[in-house]
């Protein structure tokens, strides 16, 4: 998929390969590369999942693999959690049971 110049995108790059990582970090972390994600506008048209360059909000030029076009915020309030409902009922009953019995 070809993405237009000036599109707002997210890119990802590798800052350090596993061999370049610091000594004295946990083994599970040391085995993985250090990755970086930045958002901005494409300076040229680019293929999705190919190398691209962006200009960030502060005007920096950064290169990386084009990962996402018009990235959306995916965090939310999550799924229903029964334990929270139980906490709510427990607290209200412990606090107000005297009053409710009157």
């Amino acid at each position: 998929m070809l993405v237009d110049k000036n599109s707002f995108v997210r890119i990802r790059s590798y800052v350090l390969s596993p061999e370049q990582r610091n000594e004295n970090i946990p083994e599970d972390t040391a085995k993985k590369p250090l990755k970086m994600w930045v958002k901005g506008r494409l300076t040229h048209e680019a293929e999705l999942f190919e190398e691209a360059e962006i200009i960030t909000a502060t005007g920096r030029r950064v290169k990386g693999i084009l990962k996402e076009v018009e990235p959306k915020y995916k965090h939310s309030y999550g799924e229903y959690v029964e334990e929270i409902q139980l906490l709510r009922e427990l607290i209200l009953s412990e606090m107000w049971s005297d009053r409710d019995e009157e």
Binding site: L16, I25, P26, D28, M36, Y77, G78, E94
Partner: protein, 461 residues
């Protein structure tokens, strides 16, 4: 080739990016002149107050949590159950007390003529810096540790990124690892921006007004200073600044307690452990190491030195903090935290050991929302295989389960002997012949007298 911090000239970058030459505060030997560093800017606490006022920061409400106080009294001996007060720091610009720290850093950056600011933070401080930078027309880059190696992000950190972007900042997100510091230094050096460090004197002076306001508001409301002020403790700045502000306002008898949520067993630099945490701050993973070695931060000498001010240190468990977070919502009508509620969980227990006419102040709240709220946090925990249980919170194993108490009377609070932290602090100096000046420095660092110091030094030898 291994990545090497020395490859970048750290000190040079720091001098240029913080506007402070830290070398002038160094003593011969191990110590440095902390007060000289703190006073170097020439700002008085009243100057700080007026800078913050202009930035719509500070003067937050302090109020009594009547229902939570009564709830705690149900489990107290007759005549016991101190008034629990809350300082609603969520009402600061950007939604947390971090705006107090950011206001001063941004003011200094502007005054010194920097075009932009950079901060390494995954927390509320990023949003605070971004918001305050926006008001001053400064460019802003926030560097976050956000994703694990499977590209799964902590929902709480995603929300902070969103907030920073909402204020016009650029957010650089990294996968897990301490090498974030190298990326941070490289951005500082390439942009020539100001390092809005949480640990610079500016980052701490900004919090002194929080202590001052507590002292003044308590005096106005109750005719006395509070008996106890309790601070959620991570990097130590919150506690340090608050304690200094209390002292400057005459509240010298007020005890200052630290509180952290217990995440023992989870390694802060571990890729596997990263998304098993349900708290991104206010936990022992920061609280302990930063107390023991404050200078592990992003400036040569940290202005956050909690052992200089802490009277007691408590830990609680994740289940207890979530319990009290829910209680705050359904009993006081306040959705806050959860991370800032660590000290509230501890205060709820400590209040039961204090007399009814005594006052304990929880000095901080933070805004909540998508990603940050305890609902998405617990939902995320479940998705990562963390078991949610009701039972004895003492049995909680961070990274494996979260155990909620079955009653508010079973909230878990455990005191960490300060002596343990003091000994750990001293270990790095154990092989050195200490001069009188070194010892004087250590006594101030650990808030102990000379005979205490001798005993501790003997113990670790």
């Amino acid at each position: 080739m291994k990545n090497n911090y020395q490859a970048v000239s750290v000190n040079e970058i720091m001098k240029k990016s913080v506007g402070i030459d830290y070398s002038i505060f160094e003593n011969e030997g191990i110590g440095f002149d902390y007060e000289a560093m703190m006073n170097h800017s020439g700002y008085t606490i009243d100057d700080i107050t007026s800078i913050q006022k202009k930035a719509m920061v500070g003067s937050t409400p302090l109020f009594e949590l009547h229902n939570l106080t009564n709830y705690a009294r149900k489990f107290s001996k007759k005549g016991y159950g101190a008034k629990i007060l809350l300082k609603d720091e969520a009402s600061n610009l950007s939604g947390s007390f971090k705006a107090r720290r950011a206001a001063i850093s941004i003011q200094v950056a502007k005054k010194l003529g920097y075009k932009g600011v950079v901060a390494a933070t995954s927390g509320n401080y990023g949003a605070a810096i971004a918001a305050l930078a926006a008001r001053e027309g400064l460019k802003c880059i926030i560097v976050q540790e956000c994703f694990d190696s499977n590209n799964v992000a902590q929902p709480e950190i995603l929300e902070k990124a969103r907030a920073c972007e909402a204020y016009g900042a650029e957010v650089v997100q990294l996968s897990v690892g301490p090498e974030l510091f190298t990326t941070f230094l490289s951005i500082l050096s390439k942009t020539g921006y100001f390092n809005a460090s949480l640990y610079s004197p500016y980052g701490i002076m900004g919090i002194e007004t929080l202590g001052k306001e507590i002292a003044e508001q308590s005096m106005e409301m109750y005719g006395k200073f509070p008996e106890v002020v309790i601070c959620t403790n991570a990097g130590g700045g919150n506690l340090t600044g608050t304690a200094r502000g209390l002292k400057k306002s005459g509240a010298t008898d007020t005890k200052v307690y630290g509180a952290s949520v217990n995440l023992t067993g989870l390694h802060m630099a571990s890729d596997n452990d990263f998304n098993k945490k349900s708290f991104t701050t206010g936990h022992t993973g920061f609280g302990m190491p930063f107390a023991i070695n404050p200078d592990r931060s992003d400036v040569p000498r940290s202005a956050a030195r909690p052992l200089r001010y802490m009277d007691k240190y408590f830990i609680t468990n994740q289940g207890s903090v979530f319990f009290i977070t829910e209680a705050l919502a359904v009993l006081e009508g306040m959705e806050r935290g959860p991370a800032g509620n660590t000290s509230l969980a501890v205060a709820f227990k400590i209040a039961q050991t204090l007399k009814e006419d005594e006052i304990i102040v929880v000095q901080e709240t933070e805004y909540t929302g998508a990603g940050k709220h305890h609902q998405p946090q617990l939902s995320f925990a479940k998705k990562n295989g963390i078991e949610l249980l009701f039972g004895d919170p003492n049995n909680e194993i961070p990274g494996k389960n979260i155990i909620f108490p079955k009653s508010a009377k079973d909230l878990v609070v455990q005191e960490v002997p300060l002596e343990r932290l003091q000994k750990s602090y001293l270990k790095k100096h154990s092989g050195i012949l200490l001069s009188d000046k070194d010892k004087e420095f250590l006594m101030k660092e650990l808030k102990i007298n000379d005979s205490d110091l001798e005993v501790l030094l003997n113990d670790i030898r």
